[in-house]
Symmetry: C2
Subunit: 327 residues, 2 copies
């Protein structure tokens, strides 16, 4: 057994969503996106090269993974091996401290941690930008879990280079992400499969064409710590992504009736003056973003819903990082 490398990465919650690729081969997104890394939640991944292996192995939370999940990870490792000197197959052990497959982006933190641990284990030294660009081949939004804090995924217009970069550090704004867990079931259609349908919605083109405007509004709201502006554009963008999903062929409804109940409650709480907003990824869980001042109220109200199984609490977090070097 060779020396192992361990990396940790956080999931992220997007205020402006990624949904659809305009170039599937090169994984260029249809529109830019902006997110916040979610601290307290993390994926820890250990990669151990083993010259005796004939293929990569994967355990997730201690359970051996086979099938499509394993294939996806092996293809990602093949890409790393093409770049590296070390050609060994590897053991991958990954642990999430949060439920997977239910709207918390486990594939984002998972592939961010794997990109970092995997390149390091194979002797590659990449810049943050290169690492971010690489992580997107595992899962698009994984590129946003590489830099720290508040992050924007950009595509350079001329070079086509696409990667995420920090637009503000984690300590720039002490927001809280209260994730109301409605279901720990795996979602019926995963994000990667779902977004292949995006172009079949008659609304997707309008959504992406309007993206620059929303990105500008969101970036400014973050830089100015303007919660009201952030709330307006975050909800609009979430609603627009789900509008595209629901009008795709076949239609995708990630919302659960209870998701809608929480969204409507959030709108009522706003009327009372509480600084809260909502956003939903490709799953039923509702991310209720709140200021520190509003957090206590929001948390206790969310817990009062009988159908809320749990509320996870995240704060803006730093970049993906090695937590145990090759020893």
């Amino acid at each position: 057994m060779e020396k192992s490398t361990t990396a940790l990465a956080h999931p992220n919650i997007a205020f402006i969503k990624f949904w659809g690729l305009k170039d599937e081969t090169n994984r260029i997104p249809s529109n830019g996106s902006i997110s916040m890394n979610i601290g307290c939640l993390s994926t820890k991944t250990t990669v151990t090269p083993d010259p005796n292996l004939e293929k990569d192995t994967l355990t997730l939370n201690g359970v051996s993974v086979r099938g499509a999940g394993l294939t996806r990870v092996r293809q990602f490792m093949d890409r790393l091996r093409q770049m590296a000197e070390g050609q060994s197959f590897v053991h991958i052990e990954s642990e999430n401290n949060f439920p997977i497959g239910a709207g918390v982006a486990s594939s984002a933190s998972g592939f961010a941690a794997l990109a970092l641990a995997g390149t390091s284990a194979l002797g590659l030294e990449l810049s943050e930008r290169e690492l971010s660009g690489l992580a997107r081949f595992g899962s698009g939004s994984a590129c946003r879990s590489i830099p720290g804090g508040f992050v924007e995924w950009v595509t350079e217009p001329h070079s086509g280079n696409t990667y995420a970069k920090s637009i503000a550090a984690a300590d720039h704004w002490n927001l809280v992400d209260l994730i109301a867990i409605l279901s720990e079931q795996h979602k019926p259609v995963g994000s990667e499969a779902g977004m292949r349908e995006a172009a079949s919605s008659p609304l997707q083109e309008a959504r992406t064409r309007d993206a620059k405007r929303r990105l500008d509004l969101c970036r400014q709201a973050i830089l100015n710590r303007d919660f009201e502006a952030l709330a307006a554009v975050t909800e609009l963008d979430s609603n627009m992504m789900h509008a595209v999903m629901m009008t795709s062929e076949p239609p995708l409804f990630y919302w659960h009736p209870h998701s809608l109940a929480i969204m409507k409650a959030v709108k009522e709480w706003q009327q009372e003056g509480l600084a809260v907003t909502y956003t939903l990824d490709a799953g039923p869980n509702v991310h209720v973003i709140a200021t520190q001042a509003a957090m206590g109220q929001a948390l206790s109200r969310l817990r009062q819903f009988p159908f809320v199984m749990d509320v996870l609490k995240g704060i803006p977090a730093g970049p993906a990082r090695l937590i145990k070097g090759q020893s």
Copy 2:
């Protein structure tokens, strides 16, 4: 008291929705629409000219109406008086046999019945086309409650004339509209006010640009009695309208969590082979359209939801008609 005239009209349920005007003054819709008149449900309106009146009066289900509702009806009657010889103000008595303001288009049947009874009471004789074009000034979708059966609201490209016409008679296809009533409360934002916001959605232009395609699909599905094709385009169009509503400024959510629960159940029933589809107007109630063969199953399943207060049953119905001439 002068002689009175009574007309009856049915509400209609749109498979392809009207949402937004491209010319508010002339009330030209942003896109065409297709609907079915809903029999068993009706509005009966009696108009009685009275030379001693100084203003029109209105009772709705026996209750005297004042405020915005009365103003809207008076403005409509002013339009009729401008066209007519008789200049009397009138007593209007209107009765619905279904709950108003909760997603069943009471304004459609209401203004269709008023257009017919009102013009007749004032001595006007209009063609169906003229009557339909007139009714839209009361409420857009009222123009579709004038002709019988399956109806399309068209706008002539050169003249700009806009009116509804029958594309198939009521007995062409014996569909059933099972209206799951979730709430008899008035909706927070009425359709006329809500659709003034339509243009503020970044998705409305794409929705209207794609309308001809959906209209063609829907018209063909009706003419061919192709339920599967009707279901696909009906759900898509309903989802697209609600997508625009939810992304308007401010956002409008007419769906209730229970509406979404029924929509999801309908999708599951389809998987079992049941010929059902759903559509929602600007309100929480879900219209479950079914074939005669599927009706029994659909009805009993809808009634099993504890939150379904009632299920109204409608069948394709004829045109607006006078039920008591000037005697």
